[in-house]
Amino acid sequence: MSETNYLDGNAAAGSLSELFAVDLTAAIAQCNGCGHTAVFAEAHVFVDAPGMVARCPGCDSVLLRIVTTPNDTYLDLRGLTYLRVPNS
């Protein structure tokens, strides 16, 4: 049975755009779990949850979490070794 209960990194674009001046969905992301390196848009994003969870398409490790509360937004980037963004 294939697992299809996720979207992709594009689904996180709106929430991320509230926090960052550059579009991170086109950034190259490295997974801290397995080293898989790919554009963030290819991440598996789970949205039917109390927060938004992006996971590595290689190993399913959590790359990023975003929780929006009435007063604050929590952003957890622990699962990313880096995000690579072009300078121009």
């Binding site: 697992e3 789970f46 949850a49 109390p50 927060g51 399913d60």
Partner: protein, 198 residues
């Protein structure tokens, strides 16, 4: 801030008395923060680790051999849906923890797939929590946490960890998956403890 959308009410029913900010659903929404683990009962194992590091293990047959209870409870999800009189079958945590030597105040539930959530020991005992393996008379579906999930219905439903594989008991309170990302460490729906600081 923002606007009101003319004519929008959302997918809600009103009526019965619910915790503040909740609405009633007849469906059983599936929430998942990751891929659904497909754990076969024969591979399933449940481990309680006490604060001294001692381990107590049950396999599926051992779980089935324990006295089970029929449970009918309302459940409340922090994403604002509530479902009334859900029926479950499972083993009380009182039964599972009866022979565990511990004075710990806190437990961290761990799941297949890596999910965690913290629950005080006081909320796991005295007929308040179960390891549930049937829902509505059927084996618990993987998308709802099967083969077995933690059931702590008096707290928001994220505390009822799906695909539960163990409890780690501790003298100190650590925070779980959602609790480290802005959700309330305890999560009482009647006090509307959704977010940290509520």
């Amino acid at each position: 801030m923002g606007i009101v959308s003319p004519g929008f009410t959302g997918r809600r029913r009103s009526g019965t008395e619910l915790p503040p900010g909740q609405y009633l659903t007849r469906e059983f929404p599936v929430l998942s923060a990751g891929p659904t683990p497909h754990v076969l009962p024969e591979h399933w194992e449940f481990t309680v680790t006490s604060e001294t590091g001692e381990k107590y293990k049950w396999d599926w047959a051992a779980l089935m051999a324990l006295p089970a209870e029929e449970i009918t409870k309302d459940i409340h999800c922090v994403t604002r849906w509530s479902k009334l009189e859900t029926t479950w079958k499972g083993v009380s945590l009182d039964t599972l923890l009866a022979d565990v030597e511990t004075g710990a105040d806190y437990a961290m539930a761990h799941s297949y797939g890596g999910y965690t959530t913290n629950v005080p020991m006081d909320d796991l005992l005295d007929g308040q929590s179960w390891i549930a393996y049937e829902y509505d008379g059927e084996p618990l579906d993987p998308e709802h946490g099967g083969p077995a999930r933690l059931l702590v219905p008096h707290l928001y439903f994220w505390k009822s960890a799906k695909w539960v594989r163990g409890l780690v008991l501790s003298d100190t309170e650590d925070l779980g998956f959602w609790e480290t990302a802005g959700y309330h460490e305890y999560g009482d729906p009647w006090k509307e403890q959704r977010y940290a600081g509520d």
